[in-house]
Amino acid sequence: MLLQHAAAGAAHPLSGSTAELLWLLPVLPLLGFIVNGLLSLTPAYHAGPADPSASPGADHFQATGASHHEEGEHAEADHAPVRHRFASIVSIVGPLVLVLSFALAASIFATMLGAGEIHTPFIQRYFSWMPAGDLNIEWAYQLDQLSVVMVLIITGVGTLIHIFSIGYMREDPGYPRYFAYLNLFVSFMLVLVLGASYPVMFIGWEGVGLCSYLLIGFWFSAKANADAGKKAFIVNRIGDFGFLVAIFLMYANLGALDFAGVAERSVQLTAGGSLVTAICLFLFLGCTGKSAQIPLYTWLPDAMAGPTPVSALIHAATMVTAGVYLVARSSFLFSLAPVAGLTVALIGGMTALFAATIGLKQWDIKKVLAYSTVSQLGYMFIAVGVGAYVAGIFHLATHAFFKALLFLGSGSVIYVMHQAYHHTHKHDDAQDMRNMGGLRRFMPVTFVLMWIATLAIAGIPIFAGFFSKDEILGAAFARAHESTLADASLLGVPGSAVLYAVYAMGLIAALLTAIYMTRMMLYTFHGENRTGEAERSHLGEAPWVMTGPLVVLAILSAFGGWLNLPAFFTDVLPVGKTASLDHWLEPVVGESALRITHGSSAHLSASTEYLLVGVAVAVAVTGILIAFARLKPSLLGTRTPAQSRASETGIERILANKYYVDEAYDAAIVNPTVQISRKLLWRGVDVGLIDGLFVNGSAWLARGLGLAGSWAQSGQVGTYAWAIVVGVLAVLGAFTVG
């Protein structure tokens, strides 16, 4: 009953085409993972002696050889730059597997384009995963317009990042282990995106959490990295708890867990009812964990401890967008719960603004990009919150392009800085912007590409960012006017007021984004070089295997906007079809988007639209100019990082220390739980109360009674006389009283 056939499988236009090979998409990276895993583990395994308790000191000191199998953990000795024996094989297997997946995805996309109008998802059921009474969860994949877009992004950007990693991780002894994890990640991400029911999606959901744990803590011999990995996993796990509760609610009330079933039964739910709102809010709790929104975002900045391509792939392009995909995928639920929509939009707006402010004062180049990602994710949640699902996915796509480019660009910069420091054995922080400066002359190609990405993210017209961000702000503004969200109210505040506030936050965040991105560019590429005389000679362009993918990404982030050209743009510059992504995703999210805007597609009058676009462009340009005006890289001079930190005061210090949120979480949640469980629960209840009082207590009681008994038989006739007399008194007493 659970997983009815949405559309008769046989009659589906896609059946029989390459779409049948849907299952191969996640399996290919899985094969890559197994091969790389074996390549990393077999050389490192030296069987121990038959009797392990013999004195340790056998000659098994593990000098070299990184090794790993499945999720195992092994590391090289202090990342001594030595190339792993099988590095060459791995660098073929790893990316090759991704290229094949991408090719398969592209061919499936082509068949879908060719197959004309497809209104029903193409569901492939493989085997019954959990048959338990009337709950029968099947291992099934669902292919429809939304999932194919996500698959293309994942495999496309993934392939570019794999190629980049060949260069970036060349000298790392854990090379095969790195590629094994990366492949496993892509495999789980594909399972997440292709899953046809919430539990199958949940497998991918936690799987990617696991891979991010493994990759963040890749160089685990440093405690900070291992801690960052653990923190990421546990915070994600809190989010997954929310996802699980949502699944239970759905099953308990709707009896279905697959998307088709839930969509069909969600009609019975009363719109705006407390049940559907509860389900959506719990789902959103899952999203905040995975996509690093306000309450659970603290793990993302720490996740920068992992290698940079990992940050690019996982913490910019794919995993963190899983939350947006989840909301878009369950649009039929969110459109029924305006209050939930308002919350999502509000939290999205607040996160965008909050993260942008922190980004202003970060000195580590990757931390700036991390907070920028958190901020851009806030934008995506504004979009899907207000019901503009297409805008959300569009921004997701463009963000994947330019944010991956920014991260990989910073990766090349860090790589070059690291090489330079390595030559001169100087142990400065290769990621601190204060040590960079004036790299324009040494890395011209990367410099140009990074500027393209910066302009894109700032929202300068013709670049991808402008189209997607403007569409989100426009959608928020339009829905503030009239939509089911505007009518509803959140905590007493009318919906329209909330949405206007969200629009305002989005605008200010756009301004701040422009400022901190330009600040980053200024400190890294402009002004004179601050790395130091000796290293200067070693600064140069990164090898082509790294800059190649950058170029591709630059093209994508420059012309990404073409995906979904707004109407007003094509009248001016008839470049291509307007709103192609809208038409493409219409069968999946169209119906619920319309439900929010009372059936009419909320088009603002042309004049207001032009006004909004003008405001957005103005904001972007002023942001860049402010940055150029106020921040003089020369001011930095050659001050070392430690010195300049002291000089910040007041608001700057708070921003630099991320509003002390981490410390607050530790003090408020982590430490108290540890202390309570150690002092109160373990010592107090377990050892003290239960053991002390009942168990040992009863033993003490028994011994005490024994002792008292022995005193009575002392052999002294006198004591017996006393006993008798006392007895007599008692008996007489009874008489006198009786």
């Binding site: 395994y45 340790p56 098994h60 959990m130 803590g217 011999s221 699944i247 239970f248």
Partner: protein, 539 residues
């Protein structure tokens, strides 16, 4: 395969065979002349242990191969007892030797026969003194455990319950760690107190059926104790409530449920590797099996009285959260795993008392998975204990770089223990939670937070062991796993991944029995089946 087994009339001799084979092993150990090494003062010291070790291993492997037949010969459709053997035993009292299995006990037997050879292999070189006695006790212990799972006669069940208890007392008491006497004594008295009450209850039941039979089915049929009961302090306590209380106490100690769990950490820490593996993997399941087989079907109305059910559910949830929280702060790795078992078993109890098909199947899955993953965890601790002779987490650090294979397996097993989807742990916990949500939403949500704490304490522990900087000189020269240890962990990892990805055959085999269990308890307790449509705030 099924016809081949039918041809051997497999079903009507397999269960007695499984019980008797270990005893044959014991005889073999003491009869087969061990080679007398020059240095060996007595047969029992290290030199003479070769034969005893191998005989035990061969017996256990034979037992496992034999029991595998059950997997195919078991028809998942029929709800009744299978492979039933019924012989006379003590005719005066009407106690008969009746053994049989159904969907629930099938997996417990298979788990036992699987874990025993692995635990012997695990403790292959760690037992040095009085070796023949040790292996003989292990064999008797197996008979006891399998007996408990297959007994359909209440007296036979009680006898096997005691047969299982005594060897474990000696194993912990003689071959244990420093505080072994205290630990074994505490373990014994804790279980003894509970089981004596149970004996009283069994005898009362025996009289209730006209002192004619101990047979489970007949007692089940006659279990309508009607209005019997005694008034205590003015309140009328029906007999079924008191009897349920007796059974509850005996099994709650074994589970262990929250207030009765303090014996577990001591027993686990002090037991030798094989001892703690068996204790965790199989003996903890006696308690929950007892609830599934005896406590609830025999006294459904008592079990389902609202205040009884809510108290047990609350205790289970406390167990989950309390176990996880306390596990987080344990300095000793074995104690950490012991408290994590309290947490996992809390899930099982939640599933059983939530009384929906999914939650009961979930509990059975958690029982199996906990056996595999916690057994594996204890084996791994044993392996590293043999190398470094310490169980303190802080004395390790960064050993992933010297013991890559150990690191791989510890991570895989930890992930299975915290219930990562794709491993076996997730299937059980997910089914328990999704099954018990309709009947008690708020408790299930609190129980679900247990999932977070599980991740917290285990990841923190394996980080302090595997990942942090490798600074302790002793850790630098630790040898990696040898072939034998690789074999054990390989088998367990395959099981973890197989049960995680494709648990359907296991779930189908237990479905009918879970259904039967839920129906008998609901019919008996005439309680409305768990409300279907419930949500936090209603529709």
């Amino acid at each position: 395969m099924r016809e081949f087994l039918a041809s051997l009339s497999y079903n009507n001799w397999i269960l007695p065979a499984l019980l008797i084979l270990p005893l044959v092993g014991v005889a073999a150990i003491y009869l087969v002349p061990a080679p007398r090494h020059a240095g060996a003062a007595t047969l029992d010291d290290f030199a003479g242990h070769g034969t005893a070790r191998w005989i035990t291993l061969v017996t256990f492997v034979a037992e496992f191969v034999l029991s595998l037949g059950l997997w195919w010969s078991f028809e998942s459709g029929s709800a009744g007892w299978q492979a039933v053997v019924d012989r006379g035993w003590i005719s005066e009292w009407g106690a008969r030797f009746t053994v049989g299995i159904d969907g629930i006990s099938l997996f417990m037997v298979l788990l036992t026969t699987l874990i025993m050879p692995l635990s012997v292999l695990g403790g292959w070189t760690s037992i040095r003194t009085k070796v023949r006695g040790y292996y003989a006790l292990l064999l008797v212990l197996t008979t006891g455990m399998i007996g408990v799972f297959v007994a359909l006669d209440l007296l036979l069940f009680y006898v096997m319950w005691e047969v299982m208890l005594v060897p474990m007392y000696f194993i912990i008491g003689i071959w244990g760690g420093e505080r072994r006497i205290y630990a074994s004594l505490k373990f014994f008295i804790y279980t003894m107190v509970g089981s004596l009450l149970m004996l009283v209850a069994i005898l009362y039941l025996w009289t209730a059926t006209g002192s004619s039979t101990f047979n489970y089915d007949q007692i089940l049929a006659a279990a309508s104790l009607g209005d019997r009961g005694i008034t205590v302090l003015g309140t009328f306590l029906p007999a079924s409530l008191l009897l349920f209380g007796a059974f509850f106490l005996a099994f709650a100690v074994k589970v262990p449920m929250f207030p009765f769990h303090t014996w577990l950490p001591d027993a686990h820490v002090e037991a030798p590797t094989a001892g703690s593996v068996i204790l965790a993997a199989i003996m903890l399941k006696m308690g929950t099996y007892g609830f599934l087989r005896f406590a609830m079907p025999l006294f459904p109305d008592a079990a389902m009285t609202p205040w009884v059910r809510t108290t047990i559910l609350v205790l289970a949830v406390i167990g989950i959260v309390y176990g996880a929280l306390v596990a987080m702060v344990q300095p000793d790795f074995k104690k950490l795993i012991a408290y994590s078992s309290v947490s996992h078993l809390g899930f099982v109890m939640l599933g059983i008392f939530a009384l929906t098909v999914q939650s009961v199947q979930g509990s059975l899955m958690v029982m199996i998975n906990h056996g595999i993953s916690t057994g594996a965890l204890f084996l791994l601790v044993g392996m590293v204990y043999e190398r470094r002779h310490t169980r303190m987490i802080d004395s390790y650090g960064g050993i992933a770089r010297v013991m890559p294979m150990f690191a791989v397996f510890l991570t895989v097993v930890s992930l299975s223990s915290i219930g990562l989807p794709g491993t076996n742990g997730f299937i059980g916990e997910f089914l328990v939670l999704i099954g018990s949500f309709p009947s008690s939403p708020y408790l299930t949500i609190i129980a679900a937070t247990g999932v977070i704490f599980a991740a917290a304490y285990l990841l923190w522990a394996i980080q302090r062991i595997l990942f942090n900087p490798l600074d302790n000189p002793e850790n630098k020269r630790l040898p990696d796993l040898n072939r034998r240890e690789l074999l054990i962990m390989g088998v367990l990892t395959v099981l973890i991944v197989w049960l995680g990805v494709y648990p359907a055959p296991v779930l189908r085999r237990m479905e009918t029995s879970a259904n039967k269990f839920v129906e008998t308890v609901e019919r008996g307790a005439s309680v409305r089946p768990a409300p279907r449509a419930v949500s936090l705030e209603g529709r």
